[in-house]
Amino acid sequence: MQSPPITPGGDPNLTGDRMPESLPELRSPRRIRRARRRRAHTTIWKEYRKSKMGMAGLLILVFFVAVAIFAVFSSKDGLDPTKVFGPRLAPPSLKYPLGTDNFGVSVLTQVIQGSKISLLVGLVASVMTITIGALIGIVAGYRGGAYDTLLMRFTDFGLVVPWLALAIILASIIGPSLVTIILVIGLTSWPSTARLVRSQVLSVRERPYVERARALGGGNWHMIGHHVLPNVMPVILANAVLVVAIAILSETALSFLGLGDPFSFSWGGVIESAFNGHATTLGAWWWIAPPGICIVLVVLSFTMIGFALDEIINPRLRER
C-alpha cells in the first residue's frame, strides 16, 4: 500500500518561467505578428553575422550590385565604337584601367555595363526557375497520388532535356537574344528545385502540427499557407541563392556560345568577343580575363551566402 498522496502545491507558473525581459503590452495581433517577424529576422541576421564565409560573400555581392546600379546611371557612350577614339588593344593604363578591345572601347566600361546584364539575367531566370519549381514541388508533395506521379514524371523529363540543345533550337527560332537566354535557363533549371521542395513538403506534411491543424478543421489552403509554406520557405531560400549562381553561369556560357544578344555586353558576351577577336593569341589578357574573374567572384559570393544560410537554417530546424 502506498502512502496517501500529497496535496498539490506550488504555483504552476513559478518554475519553467523563463521570460528574459519585460514584454510590452501587446494587444493587437498585427503588432504581435510584426514583433515576431522582427524577432525572427534579427536572430537570423545575428547568426549570419557570425559566419565569416557568409559575410565575405555578402560583401562581394553588395559590391557588384553597387557596380550594376552605377552602370544603370552612367552613360553608355563609352560602349559605342563610333564615339570612341581610344587606342586599339591597348594594355591597362591610367586612362583605361582595364585596357581596350580591338575597337578601342574601354574594357572597364564593358565590364561595368556587363554586370548589369549578367545580374539581371541571373535574377529574372532564377525567379522563373524558383516559381515554377516551387509550385510544382508543393502541388506534387502536398496532393500526392496521381498528381505527384504525373508531375514527377514531368520533372524527370525536364531533368533529362539537354539545355544546350534546347538553347540552340530556341535561338534559331526566336533569334539569339537576352530573352532567349532567360527562357532557356528558366525553363530548364526548375526540376531540381521542384524535387527539393517536394521532399521538404513531404516531410512537413507528416508533422504532428499539420495533423493538429486538420483536426481543428483546417482545409488544404490553410495547411499550405500556414504550415507548409513557412516551413518550406527556408529551403527555397537557400536553394534560390544557388539557383541564381547557376543562372549567371549559364548565361555566361550561352552568351559565350553566341546564343545571346550579339550587341549585349554581358560578361559572357565580352568573353565571346574577346575570344572571337583572338585576344589570347594577341596576348590581350586584359580583355578576356576581367569578365571571367567577375563571374567567378559573383558566383562564389552567391555560393558562400547559400552555404552560410544553409547552416543557419538547418540546425535551427533541427534543434527546434
Binding site: G16, L26, Y209, R212, N231
Partner: protein, 389 residues
Amino acid sequence: MSAIDVPAPETGLPKGAPILEVEDLHVTFRGRVGLIAGLRGQKGTRSRAVDGVDLLVRKGEVLAIAGESGCGKTTTARAIMGLQEVESGTIKYEGKPLPRNLKPYLRKVQMVFQDPTGTLNPRQTIYEIIAEGLRIHGIDRGPDGEPEEQLVARALSRAGLRPPDRFFLRYPHELSGGQRQRVVIGGALVLEPEVIVADEPVSNLDASVRGEILQLLMKLREDLDLTIVIVTHDLGLAWTVADRVAVMYLGRIVEIGPAEEVLLRPLHPYTKALLDVVPEAGGLDRPILTGEPPDPTKIPPGCRFHPRCPVVVSGKAAELGIEAACKGEDLALEEIQPGHFSACHASRQLGAEAAAAAIAAAGAAVAPEPVAEDGRTDDAASDEPPDGT
C-alpha cells in the same frame, strides 16, 4: 474574477444523453505491393486495425479506451476526429451522422494529442497557435462581441496558463512539457467544444506533471460541461479519471462498463491479464501473457483472444465445455451485468460471478513458477511477427 473566466453557456443536450455514437466501425490498412505484383492482381496485406467497434459516449462522461499498442484505440479516436479514412461504419454526433464537410462538427469535437512538442508548430507563437482554430473557422468575435485576443486569453487561462498575455509572444520551445500540453488543450478549448478526444494526453509528460494535466481535464469537464474520451494504455489512469472503461483488443472492444466494475471485477480474461501486469499489482510472479501483442493482419478465428487466453490455455475452457466455442465462434459484446458488457464465452456461459471466479482461477493456473526456482518460463521464443501499430 475578471472577464476572462466567463463560464460556458448552457448547451442543448441533457447530461447523460448520447452525444457521440460509433456504429460498426471498420478501418483497414493495406500493405504496399510492388508494381509487378500489383499488376498481377496481388493486393497488399490487410491490417484490420479497427474491426467492428460500437461505442456510445454520453454527454458529461469520461470514457477511457484502453489497450496495448496495435489494438486500434488510437485509430478509433482518429476516425472519430475525421483524421482517418473509414472503410465502413457510421459515426453520429448528437444523433446525426457526420456530414461530408467536417468543419462544423470539428468545432464541437476537438482533439488533444499525445506529443505536445511535435503538435505545436515551432515557428508559431503561442498566441498564433491558439488563435489558429478561431481563424480556421472564421471566428473573429466571441458570442458577446469579445475580440480575438480576449478569446485567446480566455482559452489560455482556462488551460491554467496565467497570466495569459505573458504567453502570447512565446514560442513552444521556451515552455516546459506540461505547459506545452496546456497550450494544446487551450487550442482545443478556444473553439468551446462539447467533446474532447484525448489520445494519450499525459504519457509523454514527466510523471509528477501528469496528475496536474489530468486534474485540469477533470476540472474542465466540471466547469465547461465537457465530455471526454481518453485513449490510454495506462489502466491506472483510467482508474483515476474514468467513469467508464472500454478495453480493446485486436480491433474490437472486448469489455466495456463502469470503471470500477471493469477494473475491479473484470469479466474478460484479457482485462484481467492487463490488470495483473500493472506493476503495483504486486510481484513479477503473477501471470504474464506470452508472446507479443498480436498482428492485425492475422486475426485468429473464433474469439480473437483465444490463443493467449489463460482460460483456454489452462484447460478451464475445456472443463467448462466452451473450448470449441472459444476456438471457433466469434462473438460480440453482450451485457453480462447491467451496463457491463463483455465479449467472452465464459462470461456469456457462466454469468458474472462464476465467470469472474473462473477467469481468476485460470490466471492463477497459468501463473509461472516463482522466478528464483525456475529458468525461463515465459516464451519469447515465439515466432510472433513484429507488432503492428
